[in-house]
């Protein structure tokens, strides 16, 4: 990447999107800085996943621009987009593991297809990453044979295996028990420290996510209503933010 360490890596400007007559994004403005972990929080159905799909260009906005590393990806052709996407790693909400191949091949997939590596190098790397996420010895299992938490960890391994510069996490812990949730969170933190990527996490896990993220943005009814540090959001006076963060004291304890 050409940016300096504090530079803006992803710049979202006035992005609007309507789906089936309902305006989901009503002008989103957001910066993601290089090497930070930014968490996007907000109520379910508030457009967080839709926003993420715009950043990875699975959707195109009706209006506005999304600039990654200086290039407006909303107007790029697929061929020009691919060099940018090659820097991505993505953990899908559902895992999106290839269910006809085993865990090892799933994690090896981005390496085999995108990097010029020998099978021996691939093996070393895959086993190392699987060890990182605590799944050593599970290589021959198929995704359908695994629990939800294990699938998420495989998906995490696949997302980071090709040394991406930007990693997107779409609700990495939703539906997991507290132990697994903490495990995933600390994995993300450790990995981030180890590999130094820029991370974008969509999450409902309040307040746990504040330990992981460097900055937090709250998406509410199609707009970013707050952007700042975890400390700042805890003491924010914005009514929507207050309602969301303090509405359910049990949320953090569950």
């Amino acid at each position: 990447m050409t940016m300096d360490k504090t530079g803006v890596l992803i710049e979202i400007r006035d992005v609007r999107k309507s789906l089936k007559g309902h305006q989901v994004l009503k002008g989103v403005n957001l910066n993601v800085y290089k090497a930070e972990i930014l968490a996007i929080i907000g109520v379910s159905g508030g457009g967080k996943s839709v926003l993420l799909k715009h950043i990875i260009r699975l959707m195109k906005p009706d209006f506005g621009t999304i600039t990654i590393d200086g290039k407006d990806i909303t107007v790029l052709a697929d061929r020009q987009l691919n060099p940018i996407r090659e820097k991505f790693g993505m953990l899908f909400q559902s895992g999106a593991l290839f269910d006809s191949i085993n865990v090892y091949d799933n994690v090896a997939f981005p390496l085999r297809e995108r990097k010029k590596m020998t099978e021996e190098q691939v093996r070393k790397k895959v086993l190392a990453v699987l060890d990182d996420v605590g799944l050593s010895g599970m290589e021959r299992k198929y995704p359908s044979e695994m629990s939800g938490g294990m699938k998420k960890r495989v998906a995490l391994a696949r997302a980071i295996v090709a040394d991406p510069e930007i990693v997107f996490f779409d609700e990495p812990t939703t539906g997991l028990d507290p132990v697994r949730k903490n495990a995933i969170h600390s994995l993300i933190k450790q990995n981030h420290r180890k590999y130094g990527y820029t991370g974008l996490i969509i999450s409902h896990e309040i307040p746990d996510i504040f330990d992981v993220a460097d900055r937090v943005a709250m998406l509410h009814e199609g707009r970013i209503v707050f952007e700042g540090t975890p400390e700042a959001i805890m003491s924010s006076d914005i009514p929507e933010v207050k309602a969301f963060i303090h509405c359910c004291p049990a949320a953090g304890a569950k």
């Binding site: 996407r85 290839f98 269910d99 995108r114």
Partner: protein, 268 residues
């Protein structure tokens, strides 16, 4: 009164127009999908391993059903045609009649219909599930084109398998006819095959081959497209997959017979 009439007319055209526009849009998208598939089929990087795997699935695993249906198709043909030919005292023509029917029409059509039911439906369901479980999106995000990884192998596998399966169907059918015609109904073996050699031309075999290739394109195109677009048009989740699978099989089957007629009418 006039206003009501205008409203009725408006509604009438809306009623007819909406499905027509939807159909045209769908056809346009299907056309682009095929063009995209062909482009990725002929441009590198190629994925030979995936192609071999799909050829095994579409072709080899269809052998049993092709052998069974081929044998019975030939046997039934022998019974029916023998019954008709006997009325004219032309039993000696049993061989060519069976061979021509199989090679020109029934072989390609039956083989295509059987593979559609066995492999086409499975392809639609598999790609459809990959679509709704975001596996295709995952490929996109990895900067890999799902068409190259998921669609092209099926397309090439069909192009390889259909002509071969058709040839096997024809041969098995001819021997099924032999079994009934010669062994059961008493036509002489020499006449059965001898007359076949006199009447079946290379042209006939070529027509059967053209049809097999055309059906391969039609079936893989429709089945892949229906799977690929699950959830993008109507319905969600498991129901969308089941709907797409049904549509794929029905549309493919109708298209096979339609194309059979069109191609056949060029070579009367």
């Amino acid at each position: 009164m006039a206003e009501i009439m205008i409203n009725v007319i408006k509604r009438f055209f809306g009623f007819i127009g909406a499905p027509v526009v939807a159909l045209l849009r769908d056809l346009g998208m299907m056309g682009m999908f095929l063009a995209n598939t062909v482009y990725h089929t002929v441009s590198p990087p190629f994925k030979p391993r995936l192609i071999v795997k799909q050829t095994w699935f579409v072709g080899y695993l269809s052998l049993t059903v092709i052998l069974l249906t081929g044998a019975f198709a030939g046997m039934v043909l022998a019974l029916q045609i023998f019954y008709t030919l006997r009325k004219f005292g032309a039993e000696s023509m049993l061989g060519p009649a069976i061979a021509l029917s199989l090679i020109r029409e029934l072989g390609p059509v039956f083989a295509a219909l059987m593979v559609t039911g066995r492999a086409g439906s499975a392809i639609t369901a598999e790609i459809g599930i990959m679509s709704i479980s975001e596996q295709l999106d995952a490929l996109h995000v990895m900067a890999l084109n799902p068409v190259r990884y998921v669609i092209v192998p099926n397309f090439v596998a069909a192009l390889i398998s259909f002509p071969l399966l058709t040839a096997i169907f024809d041969v098995v059918g001819i021997y099924g006819g032999y079994l009934v015609g010669v062994k059961l109904l008493g036509v002489s073996s020499g006449v059965y095959f001898g007359e076949m050699r006199n009447f079946v031309l290379m042209e006939d075999i070529r027509i059967g081959f053209y049809k097999a290739v055309a059906f391969a394109v039609i079936v893989s195109w429709i089945c892949c497209y229906k799977g690929y677009t699950v959830g993008k048009r109507s319905g969600f989740g498991a129901q969308a997959v089941s709907k797409a699978t049904t549509e794929a099989v029905v549309t493919s089957s109708v298209s096979i017979l339609l194309a059979d007629y069109i191609i056949g009418s060029f070579f009367v």
